[in-house]
Every structure is written in structure tokens, then in C-alpha cells.
């Protein structure tokens, strides 16, 4: 038993000490038998305090330490390292959470929060008294990763990880890669097009032998844990042979065009955000990669018309399921543009009201003159923050990219067509950083900016043939102004991808904004609470392309550091059998999911034994033992019961 314990109570600046009387906690716990020293500290995690702890351990020959501070999820390893540097076994350290689970949760009851802190710290001391020295267990890890989503984020992460020598499975739900970037033409802040960016990445992917690209593929299920995940992937047929590559093959291209022409099925084209139609067989845009047509599995009637022109059509292809074995996941499933509700700013009720992504496709499709539904467009109104910063409705967040994107599109339209007038009806323009220049350029060009606030949202009316937007403009003393527009563009924000089963299968928590949530925006910005599952790009929060790429490179770097060494160090908290008490009944083996308990002979009787490479330390076997012969290391009866005793006293 440890009986020379150092206890450090952190004020966390004032995060803890504002509500918990840390001096009182120190005074109380210093009375506990076995506590050699108890101190309060401004920041337990500061280097100077770490040094102080180390000196205390050495000078006062401490045999265990307790730090009461923030959640162990943040600093457990910081202080275990302190223990190691001080010459203690890291498992003679216990961290007590008096911030997330005390001072913050009970900031309304400071006196009680202080009592609770005393209880928690006492319990931590009781627990550390019974702690045992342990060494971590190494588990093997597969240097392979599954990257979900082959937009720019997933593709960039794939290239990076493949370059680092990791086997990459890049899994894309659509038949074509590139995600949203392939749908944009001109990009900001460079003069590149979406096609250039996507083709650059795609070419690197197909030439990299470490990357397997699956299109039309979806994650079905996942088993296992960090280092050794087994994932099932469902791949729907493309119905086109893989060697049908249109690049530099005019003959094949002509045949494809004829086949597309011949297809009798018409459905709305989601590449153009449903403002146009496409056929069930399709490959309509330069920015679609691979350069191989695809047949829409869902809508194709298999009439065979296309096959008359294109030999590569192959209806024999079957849906497949493949299983892959990876050490980690990188999730890069991206975003959907917000779809306005029917009647939101007259969307889907009045003609000539479209969303920003639709407008961008419209600019791309109209070469000389901007027309929509066969009518010339000269006056364009933009209403900002549609689906973002909602005071009612669930999207309270700002979508970050839309102000810049809308202004960029407006400039593009003005430069491409003659006599365009842009009216930006906004809630405060957020062209942060260098994007400010775009706003300045647009203002200089004569674009008109009107501003409303959330109490007075603009009203869209159809007056005869005219589309009128009424806005109470706070830039002109809240005058009620009317803008007559040929086209109203709703500057829609980002929402998380629809129908994403990924979060259910991988159990990634969602934040208040419904995007995937990282552990901590500054400490662990691409990590999730699920070990081995990383997130990057716009599935995590609205990001522009540069920001997306930065996060995907960060995720690649972190995932690589985790799985590339061939082993992952695991906590040595596994089950252990007391051979004296065990009289083999087999109940523990039955309940174990990892096949980690086997029968052995011991001193003339049969008992159970734990395979430490297989045991995951879940403890499921503990309660099923009639003889109470199983303990979980780190969670032994002594440790738990003395913890409980200390809490209550």
C-alpha cells in the first residue's frame, strides 16, 4: 500500500478556484493518512509545477501522486509522464476530475462543489493507495487506413498517407470522386478551377500503388478496435467495364455520347443541384473522375438502349461486399448545401429563386449570356445567411464560406456577362482575412450592399412578372427598400451530409451544430473519442478548401503516427484470475467477446487463464464469476471499494 502520497490541487487559473475552495480541499485532504504533502497550484500542467512535483517526489520520496484538475481525457498522460520522469511507475498516479465533473457542473453551488471536491480527491487518494505498478501492453496495428469520402479532403489525406507507406482504402459513395470541389468551376483564392484541383489529386491517386479506390462504395459495418478494425464495404455495380476510359479516346467518347442520348430515363441532375436533368447513364462533366461513364443503379431500367452504342455496358456486374482490415479510419464525408424549405424566401414557390450552389452551376453552364428558365438575367439579388445563423431553426452556426463564396460568384458573374447588377442583402459580411480584398473589389465594382438583421428579415414577393425583395436596410437608417431582381440567389450554408450512416457505424459523436465533433478544437482537433477514428474537412465544421486541406493533412499526420509503427501501446488494464478462488465453470469464457479466456490446468485443478494479447480490458467477465475470482487490473475490488468508502466519508 502506498503511504507517502503527494496531492496537487489545481486552480486551473480560476476555472476551478472560482467555484471550489481549493485551500479548503487541500486542508481537508492533507489530514488523510498516507498523504505526505498536499498543495494547491495555479496550473498543475505548467512546466514549473511539473518540475516542482518531480522535485517533491524525489526529495520527499513520494511513492504515489494525485492531481486534482481537469478531465483525465486532457492531462492523464501529461502527469503519467511527470510520474515517469520523477521515477515513479505511471500507474501510481491518479487524476481526479474536479473541473468538468465538479467546478463547471456545479458552478451554481460553490459550497457543495467544494464538498464534492473533497470527496473526489479523498477517493482518488484511497484509490492510489491500492494502485499497482504496471507496464503498458503493445498491440499490433495494421498500417492500413480506410478513408471515407473521396472529396478533396479524403483524396489529399489518401495521397499523404500512401506516401508515408500506409495501405490506403479510399471509399467513395458516388461513382465519381472530387466531391463538391468538382462541382465548382472557378475557385478562390487562387485562379484554379475545381477540375484542375480534382484532376491533380485524382492523377496522383491512380498512380499510387498504395491506394485502392472504391467508387459506388459505402461502409456497411465495422468491428474491432484501434489497430485492427474489420470493415465491410458494399460496392454497387457501375454497369460499365472498368477499361472504358474516355480520356484521349474520341471513338469511345462518341459512343458514350450516343449511349447517353439513347437512354430513355431522365432524372434530376444532382451535379447541377437539380436545376437540370441527366440520364441514367452519365458522364457529363470534365471534372468527373474516373473518366469512365456510370449507370445509375437505382434508376436504370436495364432497357439495353445504351448497350447498343457502348460495348462497355455490362449488366452482369453484381453488387459486391468486401471486407477490409485497417488500423484506423479517416472520415472525410464532407457537407451538403443547405436546402431551403419550401416557401423560405419563396424558394420552390416563386420562379427565379435559386440557391448559391445552383447559381454557381448556372454561371458555369451559361457561356455568353446569363439566362434562367429562358429569361435574361441582369439584376441579381443575393440573400445571405440562408440556413445559417438561424435564430429559430436548428442551424445557429455561421457557415463560414458563404459570404466569400457569394461575393466571388457575383464578381464572376459581373466579369463574365454584360450589364449585371448585384444586390447583396446580407447580415454583415464575413470575408475574414485576405478574403476581405474580394469584398473590397466587389464594392469598388459597384455591387450594392444592403444589410438586415434577424428581427427584420427580407420579404420576397412576386408582383405580376416582377420579383421584389423588400428589405429594411440598416445601412440607410432602416429605410424599407425594394430590390427588383431577375434572379434571387439564396446564399445557403453548409449542413452535414444527409443519409450518412457513418456516424452510426463508427459512433462518432455530433456537436451542437450536428457536424462531427472533435475531442478538443485546440488539443485534438482531428481526433474523435473513438480511438483510431479521425475526422477532417467539412464533415467536422464548415471549411473552405484551403482549411479543408489543412485539416486533412493534419489527420493524415496523426493517423500515420498512430498506426505506422506496427504496434500501439495499450493500457495494461486487463482481467486477472485468482487461481485460488477459480474452480473453472466457464461462465467467463462464454461472456468474453474476444476469446481471451481459456481453460488451463493449475495445481491439479482446472482454472481459467487470461490471454493478455487478446484481452481488451472491458471487464465483462467480472460480474459473471460466482466465485469473485476475477479482478480487472486498475479496477480491483480494493480500489473500487476504497474509492466508494472515501467518497461517502
Amino acid at each position: 500500500m502506498k503511504n507517502n502520497i503527494g496531492v496537487y490541487i489545481c486552480q486551473c487559473g480560476s476555472n476551478i478556484s472560482d467555484y471550489v475552495d481549493v485551500e479548503k480541499v487541500r486542508d481537508e485532504v492533507s489530514k488523510i493518512e498516507g498523504v505526505a504533502i498536499a498543495k494547491t497550484t495555479m496550473f498543475a500542467c505548467a512546466d514549473s509545477t511539473q518540475k516542482e512535483i518531480i522535485e517533491d517526489v524525489r526529495n520527499k520520496k513520494l511513492d504515489a501522486m494525485v492531481v486534482a484538475s481537469c478531465s483525465p481525457k486532457l492531462h492523464l498522460f501529461t502527469f503519467r509522464n511527470v510520474a515517469i520522469r520523477a521515477g515513479l511507475n505511471p500507474y501510481h498516479y491518479v487524476q481526479v476530475n474536479i473541473r468538468e465533473q465538479d467546478s463547471w457542473a456545479h458552478s451554481d453551488h460553490p459550497a457543495e462543489a467544494t464538498l464534492k471536491a473533497i470527496g473526489l480527491v479523498s477517493a482518488g487518494i484511497a484509490r492510489v493507495k491500492h494502485s499497482k505498478a504496471l507496464k503498458s501492453i503493445d498491440i499490433p496495428s495494421r498500417n492500413a487506413v480506410a478513408i471515407l469520402g473521396a472529396g478533396v479532403s479524403g483524396m489529399r489525406a489518401a495521397i499523404e498517407m500512401a506516401d508515408m507507406g500506409t495501405e490506403v482504402h479510399l471509399i467513395e459513395r458516388e461513382h465519381f470522386v472530387g466531391g463538391r470541389t468538382s462541382q465548382w468551376s472557378q475557385l478562390f483564392t487562387t485562379r484554379q478551377s475545381g477540375e484542375e484541383v480534382v484532376s491533380g489529386l485524382y492523377n496522383k491517386i491512380i498512380n499510387n500503388e498504395n491506394i485502392s479506390l472504391y467508387t459506388g462504395a459505402e461502409l456497411l459495418s465495422m468491428k474491432g478496435s484501434v489497430g485492427d478494425f474489420k470493415a465491410k464495404i458494399r460496392i454497387i455495380p457501375r454497369y460499365i467495364k472498368a477499361d472504358c476510359i474516355l480520356k484521349d479516346n474520341q471513338e469511345l467518347l462518341n459512343a458514350t455520347l450516343k449511349a447517353i442520348n439513347a437512354c430513355p430515363v431522365e432524372i434530376s441532375d444532382d451535379f447541377n443541384f437539380n436545376i437540370t436533368k441527366r440520364k441514367a447513364i452519365y458522364k457529363n462533366y470534365h471534372s468527373e473522375f474516373p473518366e469512365c461513364p456510370a449507370i445509375d443503379y437505382e434508376h436504370c431500367t436495364k432497357c439495353g438502349e445504351c448497350a447498343k452504342y457502348l460495348d462497355a455496358v455490362d449488366f452482369e456486374q453484381k453488387e459486391q461486399e468486401v471486407e477490409i482490415n485497417v488500423g484506423a479510419f479517416v472520415v472525410a464525408t464532407g457537407f451538403d448545401p443547405y436546402e431551403p424549405e419550401k416557401g423560405e424566401y419563396a424558394y420552390a414557390e416563386v420562379e427565379n429563386v435559386i440557391t448559391l450552389p445552383q447559381f454557381k452551376r448556372l454561371i458555369e453552364m451559361n457561356e455568353k449570356e446569363l439566362t434562367y428558365r429562358n429569361k435574361a438575367v441582369k439584376n441579381i439579388a443575393y440573400i445571405y445567411c440562408v440556413g445559417s445563423r438561424q435564430t429559430e431553426g436548428k442551424n445557429n452556426y455561421c457557415s463560414r464560406y458563404c459570404c466569400t463564396s457569394a461575393i466571388h460568384a457575383a464578381i464572376h458573374a459581373r466579369n463574365k456577362y454584360r450589364d449585371i447588377n448585384n444586390f447583396h442583402i446580407n447580415r454583415g459580411i464575413r470575408t475574414y482575412g485576405k478574403q476581405e480584398l474580394l469584398y473590397e473589389e466587389s464594392s469598388r465594382n459597384g455591387d450594392i450592399y444592403l444589410q438586415f438583421d434577424e428581427e427584420n428579415i427580407p420579404v420576397v414577393e412576386k408582383q405580376g412578372e416582377k420579383l421584389i425583395i423588400k428589405v429594411k436596410d440598416i445601412l440607410t437608417q432602416e429605410k424599407e427598400l425594394e430590390v427588383e431582381a431577375d434572379l434571387l440567389v439564396l446564399v445557403t450554408g453548409m449542413v452535414p451530409r444527409k443519409h450518412s450512416k457513418v456516424s452510426d457505424i463508427l459512433k462518432i459523436p455530433l456537436g451542437r451544430d450536428h457536424f462531427f465533433n472533435e475531442i478538443h478544437p485546440k488539443l485534438k482537433p482531428v481526433e474523435t473519442v473513438i480511438d483510431g477514428v479521425f475526422i477532417c474537412g467539412a464533415c467536422q465544421a464548415p471549411f473552405n478548401i484551403t482549411e479543408t486541406i489543412k485539416s486533412s493533412l493534419s489527420a493524415a499526420s496523426k493517423a500515420n503516427a498512430l498506426i505506422s509503427k506496427g504496434k500501439i501501446e495499450l493500457e495494461p488494464t486487463i482481467a486477472e484470475i485468482n487461481p485460488e478462488q477459480c474452480s473453472w465453470c466457464g461462465a467467463c469464457t462464454e461472456v468474453c467477446l474476444y476469446d481471451a479466456i481459456r481453460k488451463i490446468g493449475h495445481n491439479g485443478k482446472e482454472i481459467a487463464e487470461v490471454d493478455e494479447s487478446k484481452c481488451k480490458g472491458c471487464g465483462m467477465c467480472l460480474p459473471v464469476c460466482d466465485q469473485n475470482a476475477i479482478n480487472l487490473i486498475g479496477y480491483t475490488d480494493k480500489e473500487i471499494e476504497s474509492f466508494i468508502d472515501a467518497l461517502i466519508s
Binding site: 465533473q101 465538479d102 467546478s103 457542473a105 473519442v529 480490458g617 461517502i648
Partner: protein, 135 residues
């Protein structure tokens, strides 16, 4: 006997799933009674009935298992196993004359901060009502 003192509740939380939710409740400054104490275990199906009874013996008014439910990183049988633990503990509680209502279990997912707070508030109330009736 107890009057104004809030009922003491011991929560068994799980490191990967329900404990992060309890952390999140604090991070979002969502308040629940300060007489709720948490102890961490790897998985809710590792809680020994023995520990639960120990907590009652020592004076806890309620025990709450913040279970992994279907989110358990270890396996799908977790929910059933945890339910079995509760069943077994209930039997032993009855044998000792402890009201089974003093042990509760609910699945708390890793972001279920809101639901955790609600559970704690309603469980505290229920325990207090029970104590009033006893008095």
C-alpha cells in the same frame, strides 16, 4: 432520517462513452445536483453487483449505471450483460430489504449530456420522494 441533504448518488460511468457525456455536461455548464459522484469503469458490463451493494452499505442513497448501451466499444452484448447485472443486484437488494428503485440504469451516449443531467435531476427527486414517504 435525512431531510435537507440531497440524496447521494453514485454513478458508474464508462471511460469511452458515458464519462465523456458527463464531462460535456460540465463543459456546457449544465447543472445537476452536486451530490452526484462519478466513478469510472471501462464498460458498464464490468460493474460487479458486489460494488453496488457496497455503495448502499456505505450510505449512498442511489446508484446509477450510465451504461454504454448499443454504443459499447467492446461489443453488442454489453446491454444484455449490464441488464443482467442490474437484475442480479436487484435480487440481492431485495434480499437485504433495499428498495430496488434505488438502483437505476440508462444508456448514456458519449454526447448525451442533456439526458444525463435530466436523469440525475429526476433520480434525485425520486429518491427524495421515497425518503419523504419513508419518514
Amino acid at each position: 432520517m435525512k431531510t435537507n441533504i440531497q440524496s447521494k448518488i453514485l454513478v458508474f460511468s464508462t471511460e469511452k462513452i458515458s464519462d465523456p457525456a458527463i464531462d460535456l455536461a460540465g463543459l456546457l455548464k449544465k447543472h445537476y445536483p452536486p451530490s452526484v459522484y462519478t466513478i469510472n469503469v471501462p464498460c458498464s458490463s464490468s460493474v460487479k453487483p458486489k460494488w453496488i451493494l457496497h455503495a448502499f452499505d456505505k450510505g449512498f442513497d442511489g446508484v446509477f449505471i450510465a451504461a454504454d448501451g448499443t454504443d459499447c466499444p467492446y461489443g453488442e452484448t454489453c446491454s444484455d450483460n449490464t441488464a443482467n447485472i442490474v437484475k442480479q443486484a436487484h435480487q440481492e437488494m431485495k434480499a437485504r430489504g433495499i428498495d430496488p428503485a434505488r438502483l437505476k440504469m440508462a444508456a448514456i451516449c458519449s454526447v448525451c449530456a442533456e439526458s444525463f443531467v435530466k436523469q440525475m435531476i429526476s433520480f434525485t427527486k425520486a429518491l427524495e420522494n421515497e425518503q419523504k414517504q419513508e419518514n
